[in-house]
Amino acid sequence: MTQQATPENEKTVESKVETNAEKNAIYKELAWQGLWKNNPGIVQLLGLCPLLAVTNTVTNALGLAIATLFVLVASNTLVSMIRHHVPKAIRIPIFVMIIASLVTCVQLLMNAFTYELYLSLGIFIPLIVTNCIIIGRAEAFASKNGVKHAAFDGLMMGLGFSAVLLLLGATREVLAQGTLFDGIETLLGDWSSFLTITLYHTETSFLLAALPPGAFIIMGLIIALKNAIDARGENE
């Protein structure tokens, strides 16, 4: 998967910060980039493997979203903190080691506290290491910008990715089983079981939506929707 970092991200945003208004403008821009314009899920198309594989229910999507968000914010912060001390030639292995240690923490935590979700996400938790979004942001943004901006960028990119995960997970779960938040108690504990909503009962589930081909089709529709909104915005 190619990495399509736009030039806006690569230039050093902290170089000339003078007024409060400009500071706010930078944060606004970062949020806009991460959530919509340069959304990792539906614009950069990074991290498609977990995106398509685990979004068969909202619970799975939410679990992966939280894990990815945490790793992304933490790795961006750490990479930004050590950016002056890392030799350029070996920066990628170092970034990968940081990300891998963070993912290991997440994996062990999920194993301890949300065991069933850990089982249902399976291989896709350790695979967060290879998620291109994380290494992409570390390389394209965090290694060139200050800690505050890098952390905020990680948060926004993570939220953008989470939004796509949740949307895809919700669409697929409704189509396939007619429910929302099925099995949420495996993630948040028993108190949250009231969140499970059954929209309709069906004896014959629409299996395609739960299978990977359905994920591709629905993902395509979401991207088309985003492009349609953008096109409409340009026309006006």
Partner: protein, 350 residues
């Protein structure tokens, strides 16, 4: 006075797309008529439903794409797709099956790729695969032929089953497919596959009561009906001979190899030729001019390739019939096949 020395052909007629589609639909009639005779009038209801859905979905998308609606609808391709979907699904499948399939075929497989002439995949078969994967229970509930059924199914019974899933007396399709003696009746290919798994040899299976209850004769007649219609298409030169002939030859050869190797575990070539969707596939599905190969050699290769996949899946795969899967896999190979089989330009270097 000038004499024009042109080489033959001297008289040419070009058929428009809509003429071709109408001819194809007319040639489907014998097969459809036999299928409706054996399996019930609900077959025609499915065609009606699919046709309405296909035309409205096509019109809706054309409006969104700002294309001419009436002219495009008149080419008949949407209607043909609808008919092919409707006759491949079980006649008593609930109404939403055919609606979902037709919507998927027209909107996703055809129009999203750019409409007639642009689709990579055969819309009807893509829809069939979608339905088979998503709704295996409904899509495999082929009832035995009417004369073998324990209950009389009137027209109203069939209409009611299509709409609500139950006959007027309240029998579900699953109950209808079980004979009074408790034997489940499926299609011949189904029965062969399941009985082979339980350890019978194919000779035993072909003689067994459950195979005879599997309406083998009806399916045979339906296949002959499609063969007849296909022969007319060939004679009218609507389709080229390469694909059907190479496909049927391929089925014969490959199933003969399997049959010769282990006659007890595989159906005979004749069985493969006249069961399932072989004839419908050979003349009406593989020959889709949009998604099939276009060169002479390419068409031969395309037919053989699909035949190979069909025999492979039928004999060792998990599904009883495989025309739809094989056609989709064949469609994927078409760009490659066409690329490597371009004929050499006359006088050009080889």
């Amino acid at each position: 006075m000038a004499f024009i020395n042109a080489s033959s052909p001297h008289q040419r007629t070009r058929r428009s797309s809509s003429q071709i589609m109408v001819l194809v639909m007319l040639c489907l009639i014998p097969g459809i008529a036999l299928q409706s005779y054996f399996f019930g009038i609900s077959n025609l209801l499915q065609i009606l439903l699919a046709g309405i859905v296909a035309l409205s979905a096509e019109a809706f998308i054309l409006k969104l794409r700002k294309r001419p609606i009436i002219n495009t609808l008149k080419d008949g391709s949407a209607l043909l797709t609808a008919i092919l979907i409707a006759i491949s699904i079980p006649p008593l499948a609930p109404w939403w099956i055919v609606v979902i399939g037709t919507l998927f075929a027209i909107i996703f497989v055809k129009q999203l790729y750019g409409g007639l002439g642009q689709n990579l995949f055969n819309p009807a078969m893509a829809a069939y695969v979608l339905l088979l994967i998503s709704f295996p229970v409904q899509m495999t509930a082929w009832l035995p032929m009417l004369s073998l059924q324990p209950f009389e199914l009137s027209f109203l019974d069939q209409l009611n089953t299509l709409l609500t899933g139950q006959t007027l007396d309240g029998y579900s399709v699953a109950q209808l497919s079980v004979k009074i003696d408790g034997l489940t009746m499926a299609t011949p290919l189904d029965t062969l596959k399941n009985s082979l798994k339980s350890g019978f040899t194919s000779t035993e299976i072909f003689d067994s009561a459950s195979f005879k209850a599997a309406s083998a004769q009806a399916i045979l007649w339906v296949n002959l009906g499609f063969l007849f219609g296909g022969a007319i298409l060939l004679a009218k030169r609507v389709i080229h001979w390469m694909i059907p002939i190479s496909f049927l030859l391929g089925i014969t050869i490959f199933s003969f190899i399997a049959f010769a190797y282990q006659p007890d575990l595989n159906g005979s070539p004749l069985f493969h030729l006249l069961s399932g969707a072989t004839m419908l596939g050979a003349f009406f599905i593989l020959t889709d001019p949009v998604s099939a190969a276009t060169t002479v050699k390419g068409r031969l290769l395309y037919g053989f390739l699909i035949a190979f996949i069909v025999v492979l899946i039928r004999n060792v795969g998990g599904y009883p019939d495989a025309i739809a899967f094989a056609v989709l896999l064949g469609n994927m190979c078409v760009p490659l096949i066409d690329y490597y089989t371009q004929p050499k330009v006359y006088g050009g270097k080889a």
